[in-house]
């Protein structure tokens, strides 16, 4: 397992969240998730302006072998989808915590992110899932 960025928050559905300086939150899928999926060939991200409740399916990442929904980890409004992924979905494989981000959102609550898993907790969660 590669190093988990310590400054991010994580979910049990294998999304990560990064709080940006302007208070928005960047969301992607974890390295573990992209490895499980294999080569990504199609990514669909939500349109700006879309309001999401926690747990809403808001995007799709499809690899050669499977489609997987992306869930909104927190209640939020989408401000930006990563349009680069339309032509280069492999960025999620190559750089899941960087160029492979899926969407940027405005959280409904400034503290919503705090309740999610830390890197250490997510690491433990993944270990427990694989046994």
């Amino acid at each position: 397992m590669s190093q988990l960025p310590p400054d991010l928050r994580y979910t049990k559905t294998h999304e990560w969240l990064r709080t940006l300086p302007d208070g928005r939150v960047e969301i992607g899928i974890t390295d573990h998730a992209q490895q499980s999926l294999g080569d990504l060939v199609f990514v669909e991200v939500p349109e700006p302006g879309k309001s999401l409740k926690e747990g809403d399916a808001c995007g799709v990442v499809e690899s050669v072998k499977a489609a997987s929904d992306v869930y909104a980890p927190i209640e939020c409004t989408v401000t930006e989808g990563n349009s680069q992924l339309t032509s280069a979905p492999e960025a999620v494989n190559n750089d899941p915590y960087g160029a492979g981000w899926l969407m940027r959102v405005r959280p409904a609550s400034a503290t919503a992110v705090d309740g999610l898993m830390s890197a250490a907790d997510y690491d433990k969660f993944v270990q427990s899932e694989s046994t």
């Binding site: 080569d39 799709v60 499809e62 050669v64």
Partner: protein, 433 residues
Amino acid sequence: MGRKTPLFTLHQELGARIVDFGGWDMPLQYGSQIAEHHAVRRAAGVFDVSHMCAIDLKGTRVRAFLQGLIANDVGRLTTPGKALYGCMLNESGGVLDDLIVYFLAETHFRAVVNAGTRDSDLAWIRRHAREFAVDVIERADLAMLAVQGPEAREQLAKLLPQRSAARALALQPFFGTHVAGGGGESHGGTGPGKRGSPPDERKSHPDERIAGADEDRQGDWFVSRTGYTGEDGFEVMLPANQAPALWQKLNALGVRSCGLGARDTLRLEAGLCLYGNDMDAGTNPFESGLSWTVAMRPTGRRFIGRAALEQIAARGPGPRLVGLVLEDRGVLRRHQKVIVPGITGVDGAAAAASPSALGDGADSRVAAPGAGATEGEITSGTYSPTLERSIALARVPPGTGGTVQVDVRGKFLNARVVKPPFVRNGRILVSLE
């Protein structure tokens, strides 16, 4: 814990992700599945297909037996070494399995059947072999490697003794031959399974080694110019304990380890059916793109399922298997619904009677199809690395052509009906517009 091939430990050492396939623990991919796919289209790759089952069939009436067992006509096999692809049917004309049969000698044929149907196939074959006094010998002592790609034949030939290499390279497509192997039994004992344990059938042949005279005389590797990728190449059956060394020598020559993931995208691009997806016991060869494998002539050949197929044919055109190329963005998957526009025009009232359940009229793609449409279903779908778009095989009503719509996760996407294969020998054979 599934069954394991003699190469299982090596797959693990090579970092393969292991998945269950038909009860077997098999490598899905070693790294990038797409890179493995391209390696086979552009150079060469090697696949472990030891989960498939080689069955030797021996006896003086073995040809007559196979002419009754298989919907294709083994009578077409007149030159030793020649292979025939066909289906084993039940009495209703449903496909029990697809298989390859090699004609080795008048008293010795070899069949290769699928992993998932291995046990039921063996039971079926044994049941019908009795009245022909044909011995059915499961060759669990053999491993099978598929070396595929434009450079595959020359690469494998480098690892064979000179005489064997010459014999292998002289093979025409769909022919096989026994040859002396590439020596060396290094890495022996890799297979954790119980392969090589003597099958009971050996007892019925006290006077000869199980493999038969040709195998003794010419060598114990069987090399055939066959495959499941749409590329040239060889399939090699060899003693299980020699397989890991051959694999590693191929790797050392630059032949890439390839998993079942790449095997699936390659076979789908090549328009080749996968048993259990594109056909099964509930579908007949006519609706599975396999009419060409059914030999209705000579009319006197009474193979199992013939009577049912004759009745089905008499009813007129039925569903058929077509290729689809997705024109919109997305990925086609098995079991997705295919909506075929009605052959007669859809009038306004009919269209209005089909309100969109999706409630998102802004996107023209999500408009619900009009009445008069009929439905089909995708039997295999994937992303095609060669076409860089999604392709599928789909079972659709007769007469389907042009553009259809596919319900992809609640959106109706446009797909064009094409005749498979999509890709053969590295070349794209369908129009991409």
